[in-house]
């Protein structure tokens, strides 16, 4: 069933978009990440112009992260104070990110920048999670307690401006939280993602936030970062396609529920291993397109 997108000015197959939204929602429900890091590249693979894919990618994340946050909040997994510090940085980062997209598009390097950012972050995060989850699975097999190791001290513990985060059971500096928020906001603006796939591992491995709280808090801040990104993309680039977003959301809300149910049948380490493999394979696909492009020439037009 073809539906003509008013902003992208081309038809897409509605069933494909529902399925794509559903698949991303399934993963986000299963792994507790927003899924934007999969949504935007998948939209581009499906033939949606990259300007529309980046701008629209964040929009359905608002819906799936609200659903996720409500579910996590009921389980007391959302550290609202930590989330607000992340957001303080995130708003500024998103603002800068959207402006950067504008400049990159003018100099013709938007596709390169987005692809490079994805490759760098995906291989870093994917690689880290792969190593950690394989180690954890081995330990489980040897009968040792699992879960990421908790060091007593690292350099982050030495930073000033310390404050207490009750839900996370932490007493740490606010500087890394704001910086991390700004970094994720910047990525959200440039890449059209909520940043959960970056923020969750950093909260777990560097700030020592408990895994469940990291997932819940990340979902909480993704709501606002993707809302800010959507409004700014609409205002600056005018490439948010509501019709496309609605199709993705319709699939996404059902996929998220199914994913959450499926996730309960898998061990946490197995989930992290699967997510790592997924992240790495999307990254690999992007590397291939940078090393061996199918076409040397490309065309852009200066608006209607």
């Amino acid at each position: 069933m073809l539906v003509y997108l008013p902003i992208a000015e081309q038809p897409v197959n509605a069933l494909v978009m529902l399925a794509l939204g559903g698949a991303v929602g399934f993963l986000s429900g299963m792994f507790g990440v927003g899924g934007g890091f999969l949504m935007t590249p998948m939209l581009i693979f499906a033939g949606v112009p990259s300007a529309v894919a980046v701008a629209t990618g964040a929009n359905p994340l608002i819906a799936s992260s609200i659903t996720g946050t409500i579910a996590q909040y009921r389980r007391r997994n959302v550290d609202i104070k930590l989330g607000l510090y992340l957001l303080a940085g995130g708003a500024g980062g998103a603002l800068a990110g959207v402006q950067i997209v504008k400049v990159l598009r003018q100099i013709g390097q938007i596709d390169l920048a987005v692809a490079l950012l994805y490759v760098v972050f995906m291989s870093a995060v994917g690689g880290m999670m792969l190593i950690e989850s394989v180690r954890a699975l081995r330990k489980v097999r040897q009968g040792q307690p699992s879960g990421p190791r908790r060091a007593h001290h690292n350099w982050i513990q030495g930073l000033p401006l310390k404050t207490r985060f009750k839900t996370s059971k932490l007493y740490i500096s606010t500087i890394p939280a704001i910086t991390l928020g700004a970094l994720v906001g910047l990525m959200s603006g440039v890449m059209g993602v909520g940043g959960g796939f970056i923020i969750v591992p950093i909260l777990i491995y560097f700030l020592r936030v408990p895994t469940n709280v990291a997932i819940g808090t990340s979902l909480f801040q993704v709501i606002f970062v993707s809302a800010i990104t959507t409004v700014l993309q609409a205002a600056t680039n005018q490439t948010v396609d509501i019709a496309l977003a609605l199709m993705l959301m319709a699939g996404g809300v059902f996929g998220a529920q199914a994913g959450a149910a499926a996730g309960q049948h898998l061990r946490a380490e197995q989930l992290r291993l699967l997510l790592a493999i997924l992240v790495l394979s999307v990254g690999l696909r992007l590397v291939v397109s940078l090393l061996a492009p199918p076409e040397i020439f490309s065309v852009t037009s200066a608006g209607a």
Partner: protein, 262 residues
């Protein structure tokens, strides 16, 4: 709504038009017009199910004014004109990145050249260039900085447009004569051709020269929800962005309510 996608409607339109043309034929003979042009439908609409549309154009030629000698007919259709930048990738630190670019001032987003025979057999390149008749004769002016740019950029532009079916040349079945004077030219506007004004130029050629020409116009517009959304996105970008957020928030909140009960 009268839409081109309904075959019965289209056939109805064509029959009405045929009648009109045959009727007018007698009256037209008294005027010195060598060629006349019209479209079966001047307005096309983009609604959610839009997947491109075929357009039918009609023309009539007066063979008496061509001394009843053999002649050819060609029709060009060109869509919304935009400035287009062609990028060429180059190797940079082992990666393929956009390295060089050339900007063309006015490129029709859609261009079709329809003819009764291969264009190169109908008229020499010089004559065709004066009328943008054929992909090899289409003038694509460069912007100020692009002067002296290598031909490969123009070739790449034409190749990419052809593979997207946005640049078309057709000399087999696109033009069909009904009798000696009346003919129909048919083309397909792919969905990527996009909304805007399309101009159709009709040419009658004899002995390698353009003997007469006529013009018809077609307009393709978004309608209903498609029109409202795109004008909101362009006209009220902040409100449009807020609407996108509110819709998503409602979808997310609604879904949690539904699944909590279940």
């Amino acid at each position: 709504m009268a839409l081109a996608l309904r075959p019965a409607r289209v056939i109805g339109h064509l029959l009405v038009l045929l009648h009109l043309f045959l009727w007018n034929g007698a009256a037209l003979a008294s005027t010195p017009e060598l060629i006349e042009a019209g479209a079966s439908q001047n307005h096309f609409y983009i609604e959610p199910s839009y997947d491109g549309t075929s357009i039918a154009l009609f023309g009539s030629v007066d063979p008496a004014l061509l001394n009843n000698q053999p002649f050819d007919v060609a029709v060009t259709i060109r869509g919304p004109v935009k400035a287009v930048t062609v990028w060429k990738k180059g190797r940079w630190a082992g990666l393929w990145v956009n390295a060089q670019s050339v900007t063309f001032e006015g490129v029709p987003n859609y261009y079709a050249a329809l003819s009764t025979r291969p264009l190169k057999d109908i008229a020499p390149l010089g004559e065709r260039k004066a009328h943008d008749l054929g992909l090899d004769a289409l003038r694509l002016p460069l912007d100020g900085e692009g002067a002296g740019a290598p031909q490969e950029f123009e070739d790449a532009l034409i190749k990419l447009k052809r593979s997207a079916r946005l640049f078309v040349e057709e000399d087999q079945t696109a033009i069909v004569f009904f009798g000696a004077r009346l003919f129909r030219a048919r083309a397909f506007l792919p969905p990527a051709a996009g909304p805007g004004l399309y101009r159709a130029n009709f040419y009658v050629l004899q002995n390698g020269k353009v003997m007469g020409e006529a013009t018809a116009h077609i307009r393709l517009n978004k309608i209903g929800i498609e029109a409202r959304l795109s004008s909101a996105a362009a006209g009220h970008p902040w409100l449009y962005g807020l609407l996108a957020v509110v819709l998503a928030a409602a979808a997310g909140g609604g879904a949690s309510l539904i699944f909590r009960r279940a």
